[in-house]
């Protein structure tokens, strides 16, 4: 259960103040697959970074299972990011000189998992996201964009987080790979009751989610989701 309460994030750029997130409130029950749509620059990434405790809000609060992020000390926030959140970044943000497996093992290392256990789980996750086993040991900078995206998703799943925040996870992928990613996220929700919040431009993806939000000039509104029967059809 995530409760977002009157969240505000402002930036001062020169003489004017931007409010990409301006008094946003919503609640998501555990196991919900939700999407956020909106124009470029509308504040979607900013909102996600607040939910994932990468950034601190100017005001307002995020309450996760009854615990307020605003009141957490930095050390606890680190633990929150490590244990409760899986972040899939718009630009993957993998460590370029490490292999795919090493990247997926990183969050488990920070969580104190033993090496053998880390390695086994990392390989399983990479198989789940259908990365060719031959490429598990390959360095990130020698993988394609689609392959990197899959490694990024595997890394987000590493510590079995309660909430996955994915910022345009299909944006850089071809249609087929994108479809697979959507399938993967849906199955996660089914199997682990994971809450998933996806920022997307992809209407097909947005229409497959339980709930859909639109962010416009810092304000969040919920939109009805189209019938699942017509998912993938032009809207």
């Amino acid at each position: 259960m995530i409760e977002v309460k009157n969240l505000v994030r402002t930036f001062n750029s020169g003489d004017r103040t931007i409010k990409p997130v301006n008094d946003v409130s919503f609640e998501l029950a555990q196991g919900t697959l939700a999407s956020i749509v909106g124009k470029s620059g509308s504040g979607k990434s900013t909102l996600l970074s607040l939910l994932g405790a990468l950034d601190k809000p100017t005001s307002g609060d995020v309450v996760v299972n009854g615990v307020s992020l605003a009141k957490m000390p930095d050390r606890k926030l680190t633990e929150y990011r490590r244990r409760d959140i899986g972040f899939v970044f718009q630009q993957f943000n993998l460590i370029p000189n490490l292999s795919a497996v090493d990247n997926v093992m990183l969050p488990m290392e920070f969580a104190g998992l033993r090496r053998a256990a880390r390695l086994q789980r990392a390989r399983e996750l990479l198989e789940q996201v259908q990365l060719d086993p031959e490429k598990h040991g390959r360095r990130i900078n020698r993988l394609s964009g689609g392959e990197q995206q899959r490694v990024a998703i595997a890394r987000a799943l590493a510590n079995e987080p309660k909430l996955i925040l994915a910022d345009e996870p299909t944006g850089n992928l071809d249609e087929q790979t994108g479809d697979h990613i959507i399938e993967l996220l849906s199955s996660l929700r089914r199997e682990h009751n994971t809450t998933i919040l996806v920022v997307t431009h992809d209407r097909a993806l947005a229409n497959k989610t339980d709930r859909r939000f639109r962010l416009q000039q810092g304000k969040l509104t919920e939109e009805p989701v189209r019938a699942k029967a017509v998912a993938g059809a032009p809207a």
């Binding site: 990468l54 633990e79 000189n97 990183l106 969050p107 920070f110 969580a111």
Partner: protein, 489 residues
């Protein structure tokens, strides 16, 4: 993949840059290690010098110091008085003779004594001051040091200057009451035997190696002093050119030759331990009376020790400076790396890396660079130590020339013309060994003491500064916020 493996990997991420950084670090670390080795070697040398001659006091007739000539000679009674002073463990009387080659002396008398050997010899001048203290006798021996080769201090016998008249220096002959040189050090007899009973007259003598070689004398050969024949019983090596241009007789022999039985030119007083030297010196001076005797501690040694001491200080400062430079290089390179990997640090934080893990990763990366730099630096140091130490010492010798010249000039005065030789403060040939002999011996000990222990200590210090140097950037990483991960998106 552990923090350590990641750090090692990161250290080699940009191989060209790593090579450049390691090269610069190696120079700084190599310099630091070389300076440390030089410092240790010089320190050991200073200790050795202090320990070897530090307990010896020299007693000269009052007024014999300097060039104003000696007062009343010392006597056997005074030697007994000195021996009774607390903490004095030994008193050795000496009787100094100045020997001149008979042929040369005759030639000079014929030439009117002008421009004699002393003429060029230095401040001492002809028939120098302090005349009473040593008797001048004639000998069949030819000096192993030519006045003309004095500047060339490493050359034992003059092969130069054959076209100009060779001006030989007098030879120092000293009657000693024990088997020690004029500085109180045991004679290093390299061939033959000593003189046995030094308190009895004897026709045996000890010659310096170069003096013997110059005169083609070997053990059993004979030579004359004032028409008396002496047999070479042994050869000694004093380690210096001046020291080896000398002969030793038993004390009574020299006293008889000089015609002053019972009189002493000086006394060499050995104190039982280094700590007691100062008290013994005061007590000795009081016992003998300031009007009768001057008690001194080897002053040339002090000069040598203090000039070596300044080399020690210079090398220590250079060690610290080079070490600091290595630390600074590490600091700057790590600050640069932290800035460069800002976003990556943001990624690590975004996926839950604790600050200390990231900090540790950077410190370890710095240590990898320090380890590579130390390995290369140790190699550089092992080649450079000798050169650096000798450069330091030769510059230092030049810079202390003023001090050294005083000693050398006085010695030349004493040797070349000044009859006040034993009285002259610098009149001990052994003292000459300080600056020069010290330097050359130092070089051998430098090479010898580039020991693994010193290198290991130096490398430990390098790692110490590497950690300090890396700590600052590592702490900087703690300030980077996870949101950096989104920068540039």
């Amino acid at each position: 993949m552990s923090v350590l493996a990641r750090s090692v990997g990161n250290a080699f991420r940009n191989k060209v840059r790593t090579a450049a950084v390691v090269a610069v670090l190696a120079v700084a670390i190599g310099l630091a290690l070389a300076m440390l080795v030089a410092n240790q070697a010089v320190g050991a040398k200073v200790q050795e010098l202090n320990a070897s001659v530090g307990t010896v006091l020299t007693v000269n007739p009052a007024g014999g110091q300097g060039f104003e000539g000696g007062g009343e000679p010392l006597t056997a009674n005074q030697a007994a008085t000195a021996a009774a002073v607390p903490n004095v463990s030994a008193v050795v009387g000496t009787s100094s003779l100045r020997l001149r080659n008979a042929t040369e002396a005759a030639a000079q008398t014929a030439a009117g004594g002008q421009g004699g050997p002393g003429g060029q010899g230095g401040p001492g001048g002809q028939g120098g001051p302090g005349g009473q203290a040593a008797a001048t006798l004639t000998t069949s021996l030819t000096a192993a040091v030519d006045a003309g080769t004095l500047g060339n201090r490493n050359q034992a016998s003059g092969t130069t200057g054959t076209t100009q008249p060779v001006r030989s220096l007098p030879i120092t002959a000293t009657g000693v009451g024990a088997e020690v040189d004029t500085a109180g050090k045991a004679l290093n007899i390299t061939e033959g035997t000593g003189l046995g009973d030094y308190s009895a007259e004897s026709t045996n003598a000890l010659l310096g190696t170069t003096l013997a070689a110059k005169n083609n004398l070997a053990i059993g050969s004979t030579f004359t002093i004032n028409d008396q024949t002496y047999t070479v019983a042994g050869l000694f090596d004093a380690g210096t050119t001046f020291g080896n241009n000398a002969a030793y007789l038993t004390l009574p022999t020299a006293q008889a030759l000089a015609g002053v039985p019972g009189e002493l030119s000086s006394m060499i007083v050995t104190v039982d331990s280094l700590e007691n030297v100062d008290t013994a010196k005061t007590a000795l001076q009081a016992a003998l009376g300031t009007d009768a005797a001057d008690v001194t501690q080897g002053q040339n040694l002090e000069t040598a020790v203090s000039s070596l001491g300044s080399v020690k200080n210079i090398s220590f400062i250079a060690f610290i400076a080079a070490l600091g430079t290595a630390g600074l290089i590490i600091l700057l390179i790590m600050v640069m790396l932290v800035r460069e990997r800002r976003r990556e640090i943001g990624v690590l934080k975004a996926i839950g890396a604790p600050n200390r893990t990231i900090g540790l990763q950077f410190v370890l990366e710095a240590l990898v660079l320090a380890a590579l730099g130390s390995a290369a630096g140790a190699i550089i140091a092992s080649f450079a130590s000798g050169g650096i130490a000798s450069a330091l010492i030769s510059t230092n010798t030049t810079s202390t020339t003023t001090a050294a010249t005083t000693g050398r000039g006085a010695a030349m005065a004493g040797a070349a013309g000044g009859a006040g030789m034993p009285g002259g403060g610098a009149g001990f040939p052994g003292g000459q060994g300080g600056p020069f002999g010290g330097a050359s011996q130092l070089l051998t000990s430098v090479t010898a003491s580039a020991s693994p222990g010193v290198i290991a200590g130096g490398i430990a210090a390098v790692f110490g500064v590497a950690i300090i140097g890396a700590l600052v950037p590592a702490l900087l990483t703690a300030r980077i916020r996870p949101i950096e991960v989104l920068r540039g998106e």
